[in-house]
């Protein structure tokens, strides 16, 4: 990597960071800030899920169940039992990780499609139980959710909390993806047999990544609950799990920036088509189809291709020519 492109990369990152931190002052109104908070919360879950789907190739469509666990966990721990919200948030992350562990332990051994089915089943069961277990979850009526203490109780403050958590998680996933772990994950995704033959413990890698995604889902759930200020079982429908999956695939597997762009776009589309009222949902499906057909490799690739156009890698030609002196020596040795 040349000094030039490294400098450019750091500059872009700094600019992006400044933009994100200053966002509450740039957006027009509270509604756009609310959307930004929602995108941030979704991204916390999706960043972890990205490692599972995008990097290790496990099709999990049921992460909405883990989100629900985190959300209800936060509502109960911080709301009913009055724990300090930040502590409750950490507890939700742990709870999400635990559920991820229990879910992944038996199911990660299953081939891809069947694993998807188990995660789907998990989501369905969690939704049904959140209605059935009235004493714990308030049943159909749901639960109110407390906000955070100062300085996070204002909309801007809460946004910065979400930004901080999201940034930390993104940094974590970026490191995992970039270093040896990430290569191991991609190896597992593309060819399990080859990965095993190189000594990667496939099952252990998959499980650890899945537990991590459970932790991020739990944290995202807690923040989501606080953002909505009231949660009901209707919120955690299966379509939301498909939504997360869609964000990642549309963003492009094997990329972190791609799924982020995917999250932003997919959260924004329903808001844009909102004035269409009845026809809004139809147009959402239509736009989704158009986006999928136009960018089958995902946004990540589109972005990489655009970058490549600005930073063309000059091909260095290496001449493959024999070294005569060495060759003569080797031939002489062979003759002896």
């Amino acid at each position: 990597m040349t000094e030039h492109s490294r400098g450019a990369r750091i500059a872009t990152l700094v600019m992006g960071a400044v933009f994100l931190v200053a966002l509450p002052f740039i957006v027009r109104d509270q509604y756009q800030l609310h959307l930004a908070q929602l995108i941030g919360v979704y991204w916390i879950l999706i960043a972890g899920l990205n490692l599972v789907i995008g990097y290790s190739g496990q099709l999990s469509v049921g992460h909405v169940g883990l989100l629900a666990v985190g959300a209800y966990g936060f509502a109960i721990i911080a709301g009913k039992y009055d724990f300090p919200p930040l502590l409750a948030l950490i507890a939700c992350g742990a709870l999400g990780g635990l559920c991820g562990f229990l879910l992944g332990l038996p199911s990660l051994r299953l081939p891809g499609f069947y694993f998807a089915m188990v995660t789907l089943a998990f989501a369905v069961i969690v939704t049904e139980q959140s209605v059935a277990q009235t004493d714990l979850t308030g049943g159909g009526v749901g639960l109110p959710v407390p906000g955070f203490a100062a300085p996070f109780d204002s909309p801007e403050g809460f946004y910065w909390l979400i930004l901080a958590v999201a940034a930390a998680i993104t940094w974590l996933t970026w490191n995992i993806a970039r270093l040896m772990w990430g290569r191991a994950l991609i190896g597992v995704r593309d060819s399990e047999v080859a990965a095993r033959s190189v000594g990667i413990s496939v099952y252990r890698v998959k499980l650890i990544v899945f537990v991590f995604s459970g932790v991020t889902a739990g944290i995202a759930g807690g923040l989501f609950a606080s953002l909505q200020s009231y949660i009901t079982p209707d919120t955690f429908i299966f379509e939301l799990g498909l939504f997360f999956f869609t964000c990642i695939i549309i963003g492009g597997r094997g990329s972190i920036f791609g799924p982020f762009v995917g999250t932003v776009i997919l959260t924004a589309i329903p808001e844009v088509v909102a004035p269409l009222a009845k026809l809004g949902n139809f147009f959402y499906g239509f736009l989704l189809l158009v986006v999928v057909l136009l960018t089958p490799e995902g946004f990540g690739r589109l972005f990489q291709q655009a970058l490549a156009r600005f930073n063309p890698k000059v091909a260095e030609s290496t001449v493959v020519a024999p070294d005569p002196a060495l060759l003569r020596k080797a031939l002489q040795r062979a003759e002896d």
Binding site: Q32, V131, T235
Partner: protein, 399 residues
């Protein structure tokens, strides 16, 4: 010198001047006639959409009527409709959009209680007046949501009317409660059981049934075996209610069914195996959409029916009280703005708290500083299920 002024440059200067003129004039004009923006959160697709679609007709008609007559205090009314599709997350997003981006002065809805639970706090935080049209009790609270007002009946009033009819008029004691697996269904079934026990009656059986379950023979066998002499369903799912009526008819068990207003809704009719299966069923209803002993409807109901019939295609083939409710919501806003003289939220709150006996099409509204539910108990009546005609129903016999 004039050769320097190219047509393009001249055009730019001219349009800049024009723009400046128009915008200053526009600003002056706008300040005098700033529209009154009403946000309408409706679940036009998804669950409970038939109620929302009918309410929407009432809302839109009222807005058009008001604008034709010059608006409210000279200001035109602008209606911003958002389809929440029954999803609380969408409802919260759109509530934020309407409140902060579109800067509405009032919000009507959402229609589903599940969505309203999520949005009422958001709207209250922004201090904007909210007309609540969901039935769950906890949606209004003078302290937590000081600017939320409910014109519609509450769930408890429905249940009480039905319970009173089953116990006092039909003289039944062994109640079977049925709810569906939705949030509303499970919560209402629980509430119904609690209210029965307050009257000293313990339900003999309480069942939760998936609204899509295609066969109810076992559930009915269980209820019959438990000795039930009245079945009380609390679900808005017309398919489930129709199947209940069918199963009761097919097994020729003449037990009365008394419960949720959806029991008499028109979509149930085509799903019945035989029209007589609708007999011996009674639903919670409203005095203003009930034919009295002379077969007449209250004058205000007739008035609205005549006005709105042409825009509905000449006939009314859905429950009319939804339309009345939607129409009244806008008229309530009109009344509040006229009384307060402006759309300032604090003035609106004061005006609403001082509203007594406001005569609407759906009912007569009174609110106060301590009471945010306007519907009077006396206006909750029981209707005979199979008597739909032009959107209204017959009164259930009281003997």
């Amino acid at each position: 010198m004039f050769a320097r002024v190219t047509p393009a440059r001249g055009l730019t200067v001219l349009s800049a001047l024009l723009l400046a003129f128009v915008s200053t004039a526009g600003v002056a004009y706008a300040q005098a006639k700033e529209p009154i923006r009403i946000g309408w959160l409706s679940s036009l697709t998804g669950p409970l959409s038939s109620a929302a679609i009918a309410e929407n007709k009432g809302v839109q008609f009222a807005v058009d009527e008001i604008n034709k007559n010059g608006g409210i205090i000279g200001r035109p009314v602008e209606l911003l409709t958002r389809d929440t599709a029954g999803e609380p997350t969408k409802a919260v997003n759109f509530a934020n959009q309407l409140l902060h981006s579109d800067k509405v002065h009032f919000i009507i809805g959402p229609v589903n209680s599940g969505e309203t639970l999520a949005t009422v706090g958001v709207v209250a935080k922004a201090g904007i007046p909210n007309l609540i049209i969901g039935a769950l009790e906890s949606l209004t609270n003078p302290k937590k949501y000081p600017r939320a007002y409910r014109p519609i009946i509450t769930n408890g009033q429905w249940i009480r009317a039905a319970n009173n009819y089953a116990i006092d008029t039909l003289k039944k004691k062994k109640v079977a409660i049925v709810g569906d697996t939705s949030g509303y269904g499970t919560a209402s079934a629980k509430q119904a059981a609690e209210m029965l026990e307050k009257r000293g009656i313990k339900p003999v059986i309480s069942l939760i049934i998936d609204a899509n379950k295609a066969d109810l023979t076992d559930e009915f066998s269980k209820m019959k075996a438990a000795g039930a002499d009245v079945i009380m369903p609390w679900t808005a799912a017309t398919s489930l209610l129709a199947r209940m009526l069918n199963t009761r008819g097919d097994m020729q068990w003449d037990v009365p069914i008394v419960g949720h207003p959806a029991l008499m809704a028109l979509p149930v009719k085509p799903l019945l195996n035989k029209p007589e299966y609708w007999n011996n069923a009674f639903a919670a209803g409203y005095r203003t959409s009930t034919y009295d002993e002379n077969g007449k409807l209250p004058p205000r109901t007739v008035e609205l029916m005549e006005k709105i019939k042409p825009s509905l295609g000449g006939k009314i083939d859905f429950t009319f009280w939804w339309v009345q409710l939607g129409y009244d919501c806008v008229k309530i806003i009109e009344h509040a703005v006229i009384k307060a003289g402006s759309t300032d939220p604090a003035a609106i709150e004061k005006a609403m708290n001082e509203t007594k006996n406001l005569e609407g099409s759906f009912t007569t509204y009174s609110w106060s500083a301590t009471e945010r539910d306007a519907f009077p108990d006396a206006d909750a009546v029981m209707n005979i299920a199979g008597t739909f005609k032009d959107g209204s129903f017959q009164l259930a016999p009281t003997k």
